[in-house]
Amino acid sequence: MIRLAKLCALALAAIVFVATGATDTGRLPADQLAKAVRSDSISIPTPGELFAALGKSEKTNWSGQYRGPMPVTYRNRAQIALNLGGLIADGFIAVQAKDSQQVKNIGSDIIKLAKALGVSEHLLSRGKSINEFADNNEWDTLQEELEATQNEVKSSMQSHADQDLVILVTLGGWIRGTQVVTAAIMQNYDERSAKVLRQPALVRFMQSKINEVSPELRQEPLVKDVSEQLNGIEKAVSFPAGKTPAVDDVRKVNEAVTKVMTEIESKELPK
């Protein structure tokens, strides 16, 4: 009760300050822009943020974006990490669709894939929570739980000296999220939705993180292939500020990310 009162007071204070606190305009010099901190934990948006932006401007058929069951028997660790990220994005789609059974199925697959990477110990309790929240239709809490699951997978990887795989989980999630969003926009195009696709700096940042992984991992055929294709994707999402992507632009992004996603899912790795 005391906590609630504190929060209300803070919210009230915020409203008071909002009315008076508009900032003066200024400009940052280019050298400072270049020195800005960039980190996976805050600079890369989650699939949930992307879907939240899309969900406002149109009636999205989220369940129409499901894909068939994914094999959870991959052997290549880089491929498992990329697919794990994609699967977490699928979890966010099921939350948007408010489909409790689909959330539970995906939660179970996330645990299986995480187990293959040796990071499942802490995740078992997350899996149970996901099931409980899904049974109770607690969609906001489920979204938070999925975000927390994704972060727990990543921190577990860091503590197991699998730091290099973290960016692959993030990248897999972004590719799957972008595939879904572009498909949904193509089905029901509107300008406000299409604006979410402009993300050149984000793709550039993920590319730079991949360039920092160990040479052995970078030379793996799938990682090399995904990295090369990211250059094309960066161009496809580099719209000038203020320009709304047309249907054709959306289709090009969709084709580019679908091609990468197909390779990530494939049991046959590129040679």
């Binding site: 929060l7 940052l28 400072q32 020195k35 949930g48 979204q143 696709l197 402009r198 500020a241």
Partner: protein, 143 residues
């Protein structure tokens, strides 16, 4: 054996230096306070992103953190300092131009809110207005 010892020690030191840095008590405190600020916006339907950035603010310096945002969403960037100070948050677009934000300032806690017209990269600046500096933490929420 003696020849290998320095090499082994160098590797050990190198490994320790690249290991993930644990957060200090001050950063944990600052994060808790930043989450308290963000919690106030949750009443208005904002979801707190499960990610944060902690750093150190020095007098006459600001911390600049890059974020990638989506047009159509509304955002609040909430920050808190672990030590007594007056801090402020401002947001710049990818060209470095400051964007107009709603703001909340309360000593060592501050927040800035806005709705981007364009998707893309933005820079969140945490400024030390008064005080000797120290640890701070930044979180953000969206809806």
């Amino acid at each position: 054996m003696k020849r290998w010892l320095p090499i082994f020690l160098s590797i050990l030191v190198l490994a320790a230096s690249v290991a993930v840095r644990a957060e200090t008590d001050a950063e944990v405190r600052a994060r808790k306070d930043a989450l308290d600020v963000a919690g106030a916006f949750s009443n208005d339907g904002f979801k707190i992103r499960d990610g944060h950035w902690c750093g150190v603010l020095k007098p006459h310096e600001h911390a600049l953190v890059a974020v990638n945002l989506y047009a159509g969403n509304q955002y609040w960037f909430s920050t808190a300092s672990a030590e007594p100070a007056k801090i402020a948050v401002s947001v710049y677009d990818e060209s470095g131009k400051q964007v107009t934000t709603e703001s909340y300032n309360n000593g060592e806690k501050a927040a800035a809110g806005f709705s981007p017209a364009n998707s893309g990269q933005y820079l969140v600046s945490v400024d030390l207005v008064e005080g000797d500096g120290g640890s701070f933490c930044l979180v953000y929420s969206y809806k």
